[in-house]
Amino acid sequence: MANVRLSAIKKSFGKTDVLHGISLEVASGEFVSLLGASGCGKTTLLRIVAGLESVTAGSVEIEGVEVTRLPPEKRDIAMMFQSYALLPHLDVAENVRFPLRMRGIGGREEQAEKVKAALETVQLEHFADRRPRQLSGGQQQRVALARAIVSRPKVLLLDEPLSNLDARLREDMQVELIEIHQRLGLTTIFVTHDQEEALSLSDRVVLLNAGKIEQEGTPAEIYSQPATGFASNFIGSANLLPADIVAGDAGPMAKFSDGQTLQLGPDERVRGPVSIALRQEDLSLSATGDGPKAKVRTRVFLGARNRYVLSLAGEPLRALTANDVEFSNGQSVTLSIDPQRVRVLPR
């Protein structure tokens, strides 16, 4: 059963149209990510679900009840803000108790127990009487999470909750989020601009582009079968090269503007002018051999890996290799890739 149903949501701020008709269903207990570049309308959509923003057209339903015109306090939701929005004049325990107090959930003792349990969930039980400003960024963020889950809302809305954390803390929090979701089974809408985060956390990813849904599916589908150029570029930051499809001895081939060709899988059906999507991590480079040649422009050392920026038919092309693969700038290298992993997208 759908827990949240958005139907043809449109939103304009004055003359600027931000959302162009978004329809989306989130099942009960599902963890859905809204993924998209900054400014594509993710926050706006989340705020519409929360009731903090009105819609220009369309409707919002939560558990089958239309809530489009209800103010936020009448919707049973919890939202975690990117800036955490902890109340600075209350201590940690009071912050976490706030939604219980305001919604009148339980008596004083029951509330205290729930607060304690929520703080234990995020491992902050020893910080109950601190003020928010006495906590580090990561701790504040966990308080915000505890506050969001303590009232067991029908829908949990998370707006880029991990974006202010350093890499280490972020990984820890991702694991924590997954565990909390598994334990509590709250219907969760998670907003992020980080594709890895979206892919690793969610049951379903909704890719947004300029106020429209570009593609939605499971993380595996989104990753392995991007439907559009935008999707394949955004997910896994694949290289997109313009090419034509020509017939070759061993099936169709992609012909780049400089005449070089790349073998495609035998059952590739798309014809005409196309974009060839090549994932950075699928490309391998060698000094000799058959295949399209590219010139090395720069090498970026990433620790565990090297990233080479190459140039093929005048287009930049990025490739990830092991960190012991060494080429010099200006050297000509041969590209090879499994034909099955090349995606051909109509241009």
Partner: protein, 285 residues
């Protein structure tokens, strides 16, 4: 040179001025208030505190000032909140409107209130016509008139003190409160009010201190409203300097605005007292 000495140096000219122009004279006054013909004495204070005339003035001053401060806070807080949350253009207009009364001369302002409040003025007429008040209803020269006039003068101080604090409150805190089950008014009470308390306290202190000195003006100046128009501002000179200072330390530094807010108030005892003070010199009873 470290930061501390540097900032101290920067503050030095201001501090020097403060010491020379404020602390020194105030200190002198304090010394004066405890000195008599035969060395140090508390007799001035004893006289001040035992005379019901002075105590009456003191009590009325404090009472009116408190009332004025509370009214200013009750109007100023929602006003400041609205100003903080509207768009920048509208905010500019509101700020101008709030500050404008401060820029008009005290004379013009007072005559404005006279037009509105006097027996045949707009407001009493209107109230009489609507049958809400009796024929003998008057606002001019009542305490109500003082309070109304002073609230107008002091409201900008309150509003701007609170506005400074509210603009620094993150609007998302209120939104977060809304998503946690607060209605608009609840979020106002549980989030905005406690966080703007510093501004309310600062504004209230400002209003209270300003109104204690202004109420004095109002009480003392009625007499000369008709005879002179303009901004003569003089300290009433007491022949008995010690007692004068004693009054001052009680919160009254009495200034004299002949056509100031005082025109709104009449007090017979005070008037008698002031009638002897035409030349800025009072013989005390």
């Amino acid at each position: 040179m470290n930061d501390r000495t540097e900032s101290l140096l920067l503050a030095l000219p201001g501090l020097l001025l403060l010491v020379l122009a404020f602390f020194l004279p105030i200190g002198q006054m304090l010394v004066l208030s405890i000195s008599g013909p035969d060395g140090p004495t508390l007799s001035h204070f004893a006289r001040f505190l035992s005379d019901p005339f002075y105590l009456g003035i003191l009590w009325r001053t404090v009472r009116l000032s408190l009332l004025i401060t509370v009214i200013c806070a009750l109007i100023g807080f929602p006003l400041a909140y609205i100003m903080a949350r509207v768009g920048p253009r509208l905010r500019l207009w509101l700020v101008v409107m709030v500050i404008l009364p401060l820029m008009t001369s005290v004379v013009v302002r007072t005559f404005g209130w006279m037009v509105l409040l006097s027996r045949s003025g707009l407001i009493p007429e209107l109230l009489r016509d609507m049958g809400l008040v009796g024929r003998s209803f008057a606002l001019m020269q009542t305490e109500a008139a003082i309070v109304i006039g002073m609230v107008q003068v002091l409201l900008p101080f309150m509003t701007l003190s609170i506005l400074g604090v509210i603009t620094r409150i993150d609007g998302r805190l209120e939104e977060a409160a809304r998503t946690m089950g607060c209605s608009f008014l609840q979020s106002f009470r549980t989030v905005v009010l406690p966080l703007s308390l510093p501004g309310i306290v600062a504004g209230s202190l400002l209003c209270f201190t300003l109104s204690t000195s202004l109420v004095c003006d109002a009480q003392s100046a009625r007499r000369h409203a008709n005879t002179s128009v303009g901004g003569i501002d003089l300290q009433i000179g007491y022949p008995n300097a010690g007692l004068a200072v004693c009054c001052s330390t009680g919160g009254h530094i009495i200034r004299w605005h002949p056509a100031g807010t005082g025109a709104l108030y009449q007090d017979d005892g005070l008037q008698q007292w002031l009638s002897q003070s035409r030349h800025g010199c009072v013989r005390l009873p």
